[in-house]
Amino acid sequence: MIRIEAEPWAAMVAHARRTYPNECCGAMLGATDGEQKLVRVALPLENAFAGAQAARYELRPEDLRAADRAARERQMDLIGIYHSHPDCDAYFSPTDLRNSCPWYSFVVLSIQKGEFHHANSWLPNLDQTEAAREELVY
């Protein structure tokens, strides 16, 4: 289960709405205890995808390293990645799956007509062929 505290959750939704109609992306930091994860800080990152960003995002590895460093400095863990799907459900698309990493939770926020609609969290498998839904509490 992944639980997102109110403050980071508000930051994630605000980020996704601000970026609409493009996709946003960012990192989630917090604490893990086995399968239990608690997100305490949301770190908005730049969508580095070079083309149209309405249906794509890309994280720079440097930004992800910086997020990992930020987590270490705060005695936190890098728990997962979030991104938005503008005018589209919060499913884990084939694009998401192929470019994912099984080490993290992937939270997808559905933003419809500029407003938050719903969200899901996904756990991709090692071979990036399937993603299981993870219980998400916010």
């Binding site: 694009t95 419809q112 071979d127």
Partner: protein
Amino acid sequence: MAKVLIPTPLRQYTGKQDHVQVTGTTVGEVLNTLATQYPDLRKQIFNDEGRLRSFVNVYLNDEDIRYLKKTETPAADGDTLSLVPSIAGGAGVAAPPAGSTLTKDEILRYSRHLIIPEVGMEGQQKLKAAKVLLVGAGGLGAPLGLYLTAAGIGRIGLVDFDVVDFTNLQRQVIHSTADVGRKKLDSAAEKMKAINPALEVVKYEVALSSENALDILKDYDLVVDGTDNFPTRYLVNDACVLLGKPNVYGSIFRFEGQATVFAYEGGPCYRCLYPEPPPPGLVPSCAEGGVLGILPGTIGLIQATEAVKLILGIGEPLVGRLLLYDALSMKFRELKLRKNPECPICGEHRTITKLIDYHQFCGVPQPGPGGAPATAQEAKLNEGEIDVIELKQKLDRGDNFVLIDVREPHEYQIANIPGSRLIPLGQFPQHVGELDPEADIVIHCKSGMRSARACGVLRQAGFKHVRNVVGGILAWSDKVDPSVPKY
């Protein structure tokens, strides 16, 4: 002894340590030793073939090892290795539409799709919400337009500025005999609407150019390239890469065809395959070289299949693979295509960030307004040209000159200008020695492209009086002798 930083989720495999000291002289050795020390970690970073998993980037201190010597990069004492996943994604073209539903009529119409689990209601809704741009309503565009319409694509954009011609009918099955003389856009749109009245067809009666391409392409999910010339292929490719849209590519010549998907999710683009265009005139067009009428059907439908798969997000897309089809041997082959890290538009250090002048890039001069020569170079070439009317007068006067036809023997059989000597372009250089450098020489082909090259060969060899017949035997049929058949 290098220090390896362990990402949070992997610390469960390293006894909760956030970094580990590992021996090894190269990055590859360090990682292997690490995986040997912590066996549960191995499958997280290596695949079954022992290669680093595709999502794992390795940094040596602050450098990505892909730009060093990859796993052969030396690792010294005090170096720090970080494992950084590469992460991207997005709703992509495979997004299920928010709130688009099928009507009762549509459920009936698409029932054979709906009962396939891989398509189903959700897939059919994706097709309905999809916007596909077809560049060209000719040989490839014909089967594409018909089948994509029938499959239930919601919006199809058509880019074409040509008029239906008798020579099109042998393969462009979207047009019929009664359409000759009509705009291809009108003829194609009419057939498509007849198949599926719910289809939204958007007609662009323009030549795709650097000025309009981004504006036209931006509203579509994917682009299908059905063009027959190099400037437009590079233009479509570059625009797709810049906009992040997949480019479903196909090309045809005589009995052979090719198809692949370019610019898709980190896959290669057309420039990765062909960094430079061929010299102008080297690769003949269908009008010059001919094409088996059925061939564009085969290749166009492979493109249509890939387009539908991309929209549905099912199967293995034809990405990183160039499919080669030979109709004579009835064989399909596949070539692996790799993304070129040095590609000027999709590589790491891109130098092309906006659309360029593609006619200039491909060395194809464009006629200026009113048919005036576009460049000084072309104007110079024109000095060595002769009109078919003047050629007729020369023949009637009985002037002393040599008329050479550089087409192929089977073309000569279809139609020829009496008194001409046949030397196919491919054999032309061997026959130069038989010609008199001082003679008055006139060369023709079908439309003037091949003969222009033959003229160039002779001029380079020092021939003084060489002229190219403008418009070739097609112009001869139009202006001099209508009994000569056009082909």
